[in-house]
């Protein structure tokens, strides 16, 4: 009897020790990533890593995208940081300048993969010549157009518009079809959507948006006023759905797939999304144009992956970065999902060759810009910032555009100077 009790206690003690010891032996890497991005892509990358690295899996947590900047800042301030962070690439410079990310230059500088990595991503991952991150995924903006609506409106479905004037002309004809169909889409309450899809129209027209630093002038060039006038005229002509005014970005990615919009600026992610949403819809992709034919541009966006100061698994995190840039991952994960590869030399692959639309949108990378500023959120991405305020006044008021632009400039300069 006594022996039995002793054996039972021994077994219980062993079980208790194992329960405590097991999590310590198999500690996952903690990774944070913003919501509202390309979650499917990030899930697939993490799953692929976990398959190959069962002893150092990544535990991925999504942070609401509007809370990402303060959440990361609070984590850094409190010391409770994850091992890896995926972040919207335009926030990279702000955290790098504040010294909050691990400098990985010495660990990655000899990687051959970095030579062909997305220039826009690498630019915002670099601060004062030091590297702090690598691309996680890439999005580019382009002009998606509904070929079915083109045909109904008597337009050639193989001839997308090449200037803003042509977009207006085509939009008028598509809107005239009636019903709930409109020629174009302009999100009225989403700062990020507009920098992704309207800023390229300004860039293509020779204008600039953000100031690079405190001494730089924002919103330069005639292209700014010309594009704002064009947008105002499009809305007044009834070419945009009325509820676009309330679009905060929550349903922006679903608009094109609804089949009720003739043309709109959106991202490569909408290829798969639109097919899922509206399998029968025939659509094409062109580059976002400027005022004149031949002028084109795009926004190279997406996320970078970085290592916050305080991470205890820097070497493992760097190994994950190498994994992301490897040939196999670029083709068998990124390209297989019809997402942009983050290395330019991997764009020629069997998956893209079988899908002409991806090849069309990949052309945008060559003409894409990625803004570089230390105060991107406050200047541009904030729903309360001067970028969206300027657009809302331009889109929905009759106030003189020069006044609107000069007031927005003053606000941007004040923010940049702080």
């Amino acid at each position: 009897m006594r022996l039995q009790i002793w054996r039972t206690c021994r077994a219980a003690l062993a079980g208790l020790l194992a329960t405590v010891a097991l999590p310590a032996m198999a500690e996952d890497l903690q990774m944070w990533e913003r919501s509202g991005g390309n979650a499917g892509m990030v899930d697939a990358l993490v799953a692929a890593w976990n398959d190959k690295n069962p002893d150092r899996k990544i535990n991925l947590t999504y942070i609401p995208h509007t809370e990402m900047v303060p959440k990361i800042a609070q984590a850094i301030a409190s010391g409770e940081v994850p091992d890896l962070m995926g972040m919207d690439l335009i926030y990279g410079p702000q955290f790098e300048a504040a010294g909050q990310l691990v400098d990985i230059t010495d660990k990655v500088k000899d990687w051959p993969e970095l030579k062909t990595a997305s220039p826009g991503h690498m630019a915002v991952s670099t601060y004062e010549g030091r590297i702090y991150g690598v691309p996680l995924y890439a999005d580019v903006s382009a002009l998606f157009y509904n070929k079915d609506l083109f045909r109904k409106a008597g337009l050639d479905p193989n001839k997308p518009p090449t200037s803003l004037a042509e977009i207006r002309e085509y939009a008028d004809k598509i809107t005239a079809l009636g019903g709930d169909v409109k020629g174009y889409f302009l999100p009225g309450s989403c700062a990020g959507c507009n920098i992704f899809t309207v800023a390229p129209l300004i860039w293509a027209s020779g204008g600039t948006v953000e100031p690079k630093d405190a001494g730089d002038e924002p919103l330069k060039g005639d292209g700014v006023k010309e594009v704002l006038q064009w947008a105002r005229d499009m809305i007044k002509a009834g070419n945009v759905h009325e509820d676009a005014r309330a679009e905060t970005g929550e349903t922006f990615h679903l608009r094109f797939g609804s089949g009720k919009v003739g043309m709109m600026g959106t991202g490569n992610f909408n290829i798969t999304l639109s097919r899922e949403q509206n399998p029968g819809m025939d659509f094409g992709i062109a580059l976002l144009p400027g005022m004149k034919s031949g002028q084109v541009s795009s926004f190279a966006g997406g996320d970078i992956v970085t290592i916050p100061n305080g991470s205890k698994r820097v070497d493992d995190a760097v190994d994950f970065m190498k994994f992301l840039l490897s040939d196999e991952t670029q083709v068998e994960v990124y390209a297989k999902m019809l997402n942009m590869t983050t290395r330019g030399d991997m764009a020629e692959n069997k998956y893209f060759q079988a899908e002409p639309l991806v090849q069309d949108v990949a052309k945008a990378i060559a003409v894409a810009n990625t803004p570089y500023t230390l105060k991107f959120f406050e200047l541009i991405n904030s729903p309360q910032g001067p970028w969206l305020q300027m657009l809302q006044r331009a889109y929905y008021e009759d106030t003189d555009l020069d006044t609107i632009i000069s007031e927005a400039k003053a606000q941007m300069k004040a923010i940049a100077a702080e």
């Binding site: 303060p70 309450s189 309360q384």
Partner: protein, 291 residues
């Protein structure tokens, strides 16, 4: 010597409460005052700037826009909550089964979280899918859907007011009912014997004898409205053009997304000062009316 000992013993008794107040109120307040005197970022070095943040607020057009909007919201919603709550309390004060059920139904939304309630009403007011537009269209009150959020600040304000009145009305009602139950029955009965009608009894008996509760509910409503944030963050996101961003919304925006803790702290102190002034004024008015 005996009184000195008594004082020390007294101090010992209040020490736990004093410690609690010092740790959870006095210290954070002092810390916030200290932060307000700095350019204090969450991720970068802080810099002492004395009253620079307060000067910045004075010249910040958004500060005045938010303050005016918050005051406008408070002035509009408070009478609705007071009058509406009091009338429903008068209607349901008697303890009959039907009136008890009615009070419970009116009170039910109070227990729903403000975030959940705001999300519910955000979708009820949806342009395409909302039941509000659907009902108004079917009743012929409107001939095309209304864009409740993102277009007109006043339309958005009234939509938020509707949602908050639905949610919060029951709270005041319950407090008013309790106050009405405390009115001595013999006073009302004596008035009835003298021929006083219902509204005369309300005016001359019920209303004066529930004045303290009315003041309390008004105070709670005013403070709550001046501190409004959740409903505007969720339903309007400050749109259009920050015209529906309340004072607390501005504090949140500067403190967290913009990482300007120092400026957010200064704005918080300014708002706290305004609320204190409103509270003191109300207390003085109440004392005067009792005198």
């Amino acid at each position: 010597m005996h009184s000195a000992t008594g004082r020390y013993v007294g101090l010992l008794y209040v020490a736990p409460a004093l410690a609690f107040v010092l740790v959870f109120t006095a210290y954070p307040l002092a810390q916030m005052v200290w932060m307000s005197l700095h350019n204090w970022s969450l991720i970068a070095q802080k810099k002492y700037i004395a009253f620079g943040n307060f000067t910045k607020a004075w010249y910040d057009p958004q500060f005045w826009t938010s303050l005016n909007f918050t005051l406008k919201y408070t002035l509009l919603i408070t009478p609705i909550l007071m009058i509406g709550g009091y009338l429903i309390a008068l209607l349901t004060a008697e303890n009959t089964p039907l009136r008890q059920i009615t009070r419970s139904v009116v009170f039910l939304p109070v227990v729903i979280g403000l975030g959940a309630s705001s999300l519910l009403w955000y979708w009820l007011f949806s342009y395409d899918f909302g039941l509000v537009n659907r009902a108004l269209l079917d009743l012929g009150i409107i001939d095309k859907p209304v864009l409740w959020f993102g277009a007109d600040a006043d339309v958005a304000l009234w939509a938020v007011i509707v949602s908050i009145v639905w949610k919060v009305l029951g709270f005041g009602t319950i407090l008013f009912v309790a106050a009405m139950h405390a009115v001595p029955r013999d006073v009302s009965e004596a008035a009835m014997v003298d021929g006083a009608g219902f509204w005369q009894r309300v005016r001359h008996i019920t209303f004066p004898l529930t004045a303290r509760t009315i003041l309390l509910v008004t105070l709670i409503s005013v403070i709550g409205s001046l501190l409004a944030f959740d409903q505007f963050y969720i339903m309007t996101a400050g749109q259009p053009r920050n015209m529906t961003a309340t004072s607390v919304f501005l504090i949140y925006l500067n403190s967290f997304p913009y990482l300007k803790l120092g400026y957010g702290a200064a704005l918080s102190l300014i708002l706290a000062g305004i609320i204190l002034i409103c509270t003191v004024l109300q207390m003085l008015l109440s004392r005067r009316s009792h005198a």
